[in-house]
Symmetry: C2
Subunit: 464 residues, 2 copies
């Protein structure tokens, strides 16, 4: 690459953190960030910086300048008014701070491009990797780094997992973070990088590509600044792990809104889409699709083909799922081999018709699902197992959820479950996902996710 690569490791796994702009006032951003480090149980060395403060803040030792700290600082989080950022960044440079996150707004997004250029210049001069300005920053539930300045009671925190999420927008980022707290797959890293003045999506992709804790990369992008470099990294990253992307600016109104938001030049959506497709990115059209794709990639291996078997305890839902699968371009309902009927003979109620969708009837229980899924999973003509479990029915209960978790451990093919409903269903969804079984809340959601999985599998084969 033409530009130097930044090492983001000290930012994501810092041994020492300085919060610059730390404050006693509870509503100040610098207070919330410091509090998040304390509440989050960050175990590294933590310092507060406030040029007017005397004494400690939140029991954290406080300095007038980062220069005064007699320690090597891996990460400085800067939360002070924009006009003071250049001088503070100079001090960070002199103090040999390795990385900084500038959460402050008031730069290019409101036309202050000169101020933004100035801070990039300083960061470059001192060889500091800088994320921001105008961003929420970074979260890593493993290292307990958390620079988000949002009230914690408003935002449920995600579990530790394998999905990393990169969002240019703090709003989209925090919403997705909150939403995935209800998903079983969990979070590896979160980056909200705002104006992308220096460190941008190319650097972050490069970091996440090599990060062993990251299994799936999910991105929300408004504009790509370094097209050539983006293409270079795009070529490489999808050979290593799946990347899901939601790109703003699909329409003229979206392009215009994106420019006003993060000063991004969204460019031609078609041109971006062509690049994404060429390099095997999975393109989401909405926030909900981001989550469907993240989930399927986090849980499932690549299918050998596109033949889906539907096994259901609700006839109508089986019909709707047959429609949803057949409406995709790449998936079909597989026809069962003779072996399925043979192995199910005498083991299903008389009313059960051995065909796909396989309707086990409204009283199906754990045992019936067990027999049916194992028969279907053994069929070489079936590539993907898609059980529908409606927990409103008499036979569907926690024993069935446990059975599906057990089956999943022995079935060597992708398997996703469709369950729709309120509390009783949600409880079992959480249970199944904790046990390694992804659960989707509609036939359309499952079909979308499985088609994404299939297409990425095809991409990987053609690239190898």
């Amino acid at each position: 690459m033409s530009r130097k690569e930044f090492n983001l490791e000290p930012m994501v796994k810092p041994k020492s953190v300085a919060v610059i702009g730390a404050a006693r006032e509870e509503d100040k951003v610098g207070h919330i960030i410091l509090q998040n480090y304390i509440n989050g149980g960050y175990s590294g060395r933590l310092y507060a910086v406030n040029r007017n403060a005397s004494g400690d803040i939140l029991n954290v030792k406080t300095y007038k300048s980062v220069i005064d700290i007699k320690d090597s600082i891996d990460l400085a989080v800067i939360a002070i008014p924009a006009q003071y950022v250049p001088d503070t960044l100079e001090e960070c440079g002199k103090a040999h701070v390795k990385t900084v996150i500038v959460v402050s707004g008031g730069f290019a997004e409101i036309g202050e491009t000169a101020l933004q250029e100035k801070i990039v210049e300083i960061a470059d001069k001192y060889n500091i990797a800088m994320v921001g300005p105008n961003c929420l920053g970074v979260m890593d539930p493993r290292s307990r780094v958390d620079t988000l300045f949002l009230p914690t009671y408003k935002l449920s925190k995600a579990q530790i997992g394998g999905v990393s999420f990169v969002a240019q927008s703090g709003a989209v980022g925090s919403t997705v973070l909150d939403l995935i707290s209800e998903e079983g797959f969990g979070l590896s890293k979160f980056f909200s990088y705002g104006n992308a003045a220096q460190v941008d999506e190319v650097d972050i992709l490069n970091y996440l590509m090599n990060d062993k804790e990251t299994k799936v990369i999910v991105m929300y992008i408004e504009g790509i600044k370094r097209g050539k470099e983006f293409i270079e990294i795009a070529k490489k990253v999808t050979k290593v792990k799946p990347v899901v992307v939601l790109k703003a600016g699909r329409t003229a109104a979206g392009v215009s809104a994106a420019h006003s938001h993060t000063a991004s030049l969204a460019g031609s959506y078609e041109a971006h889409e062509a690049v994404f497709r060429q390099f095997g990115f999975t393109i989401a059209n909405d926030v909900s699709e981001l989550i469907y794709y993240a989930k399927i990639f986090a849980y499932e291996p690549m299918p050998a083909g596109g033949n889906v078997a539907i096994i259901t305890n609700g006839g109508g839902t089986g019909v709707l799922t047959a429609d949803a699968i057949s409406s995709t371009r790449n998936l079909v309902l597989g026809e069962f081999s003779g072996g399925v009927a043979k192995s199910l003979r005498g083991r299903m109620p008389a009313l059960v018709n051995i065909r796909n969708p396989l309707d086990l009837a409204g009283d199906a229980d754990a045992d019936r699902y067990n027999v049916a899924i194992n028969a279907v999973a053994g069929d070489p003509k079936i590539d993907i197992i898609l059980p529908i479990v409606l927990f409103q029915t008499p036979g569907a209960d926690s024993r069935l959820a446990e059975e599906l978790i057990k089956i999943k451990q022995t079935v060597n093919k992708p398997m996703a479950v469709i369950s729709m409903g309120s509390q009783y269903t949600q409880m079992h969804k959480i249970m199944m996902e904790s046990g390694g079984v992804p659960v989707f809340d509609s036939p359309g959601a499952a079909a979308t996710a499985l088609e994404g999985l299939y297409k990425y599998g095809v991409y990987l084969k053609t690239r190898k």
Copy 2:
């Protein structure tokens, strides 16, 4: 219509109900149904029928035959094995029972067409309106009629409201019932009509068209048997109230699965779709879309045009919503009149750019939303108000939710809110929907719903 019309009023609002097949065994369907009437607080006269029973069941007076009951029976619910249904139905006829629901399966759906024809013949002979067989039956939270034989702890019950739901499939029906328990709009009537041997979607549509408690009709259909009559009622019903339809059998696989499920001939989806479109039905493609459309019709008046104003506290979500709205065929982002900038002058922070989407910034609170929405709602060039409220941000709280409820009462234009998130957001969603403000969980969902509203409004105008 060529065939007689059935009066379903005694079925939905019965003064007296007999549960035939009532049983002491807790897992028997007849036990669950009787229990549901008792638990639900049904205030009419309730009888149990069991030809082998002596003494009461669940403290309900029990008879060997419906003939023995010295009362006029509005509704008999029949939950006995299929082969005994004809004789029991004869007894119902002799006892002048007005309506019956046959929940038992074992008829045309498994090839027993002769048995099914026989019960239709008996019902017709005695002038009984019969729903079923092979169905869940009817629910009306106002009259507390509930023939569903599903465990109540698995299925959250919907509130009382204006949406009636008609489902050929019990599985789809019970899932939707469970899902709408989390929605503010509430239920008017629920019909699961199974094999539609006698009473079918035409009769039910006719009933709901005239039902004053029903504001919106939502249907899941596998096959339509009486095409000509369906078209006749379709012409009339959408002039009176909106109808949302999810039709199974969009694909060959779906058609085949539907036939195996309720013996329905799904027919050409295109032909059905053409009829639905011609008569202003709103076509849903998934269960989730059924709920989006039900919600928007339950809450909102028709817009005067397709110009949408987006007001947001999250820039990125504003961009995505601009994309979602502009991606529809009928909606656009309206351009604000000069009056908006004028009335907002000096009342917004300096960073707020007066354009659509109107980004109020991440610290927007109730007051800022109030000023902004009122300014935009007064713009004659704006037809639909679409506030995005991300409750993860510092300024969004219960006061803002209350403010939106108040604003809604004065704004004379459709207004829907987009909020995405987990617990804290869900709490405010419930609050806002109880107060009359519909809330959608993604930009795509809101765009889909609002376009449906707009299209139905156009249909109504052209038909008047």
